[in-house]
Symmetry: C2
Subunit: 222 residues, 2 copies
């Protein structure tokens, strides 16, 4: 029997993902060790292989069939728009995609934003779809990190970013004026593998779905 | 006099950038402290403000004029293609953009790669330009990290990635088959600010250019 490959996301969702798989006896705990440099790991039974990749790359490996199963945030799925089967909402890793402005901004709702104003984001696909839907033309600025700096320096009027606890926004004097969607961790599968269901894929997916929360690692940091 | 804002890149080029500015009495040493959470900092004279951003975001802040000066790798400039003035090659942070394949790959040079093979990269703009120039049609797979995993899992025949010491390639059994370009840290400026030269911008740029190496932080890690 060929091993089933599971793509695990580095970052905020990793710990809870590893803990849940451990409940099924699939042990990728080595990925959690701070000294870990391994990106591939077989579990003890040899029936499962874990692939540790950046969260944004999970749907890529699953879409290309290099992994049959993956765990990733809904936010990443929305942004990447890749052909993967969304199997289940795993319920952990809650955060929301929000529009935020400076606390002293005159704009208190999205509809107040002036046409052609600048909006900075790491999620430009999401931001473009959202503002297109509202028929509000904005200039999107694509950033890789620290998006909260854009309104503080005056580069953008608003940002579109993931918010979990809201701490980063508060520390930078920013306020949310709209929620675009809520995000949680999703279980995804390679569409063809999902249809064929070889190597015990369906029972595995059902077991992962039916796991209860471990009460750990369930929130993101910013 | 308005402060001149300098955008500094997080990551491999930060230490050498901070050390060189310190030689001019512009002290952003706080950015190097491991506990640092500040993204903006004024130097003691109040004449300079430092903006600590992701390397990929440095040309964005400079192109939009939120920073008049920036330090960033040539690789990022090539990838982002933004309107900034390239003032000088600072000579440190050497690395190269390479094409690499598995050690046991039958392809020993780029011209051997079959048409429509898959190439994974974090630098898809660069990769597209390169293969277009060679008139070799390839399917590019955009990844965010651990690009070396793509040929190991069989997702791609080749990768386009930054190589410094070559350690990551060696550890993963990959070999370089072509160099696309060599990269070093570059001094960039906002085009209009550069033309106008207000607030002592030209002397500052000349001083940064003329600094000698500090002998530290001059290579990248992978």
């Amino acid at each position: 029997m060929t091993a089933v490959t599971i793509a695990l996301p580095k970052g905020a969702l990793l710990k809870e993902t590893v803990l849940r798989l451990q409940q099924l006896g699939i042990d990728f705990g080595a990925f959690l060790e701070s000294s870990n440099r391994l990106l591939r790991l077989s579990d003890r039974s040899g029936r499962y292989e874990g692939l540790l990749v950046r969260a944004q790359d999970v749907p890529v490996y699953v879409a290309y069939g290099q992994a049959q199963v993956g765990v990733v945030g809904f936010d990443v799925l929305q942004e990447k728009q890749l052909p993967v089967a969304q199997v289940a909402d795993l319920g952990f890793g809650y955060c929301r995609m929000s529009v935020a402005v400076k606390g002293d901004s005159p704009y208190r709702q999205v509809q107040d934003l002036p046409a052609h104003c600048r909006v900075a984001s790491k999620f430009v696909t999401c931001a473009r779809l959202y503002f297109d839907e509202l028929q509000l033309p904005v200039e999107l600025i694509s950033l890789y990190g620290s998006v909260e700096l854009a309104p503080l320096t005056g580069m953008a009027e608003a940002i579109v970013d993931l918010v979990s606890s809201g701490r980063t926004l508060r520390e930078n004097g920013l306020v949310e004026i709209a929620t675009i969607y809520d995000s949680t961790a999703r279980l995804i599968a390679h569409p063809l593998s999902y249809r064929l269901g070889r190597n015990g894929l369906h029972p595995l997916l059902q077991q992962i779905q039916s796991l209860s929360a471990t009460g750990s690692g369930a929130s993101r940091t910013s």
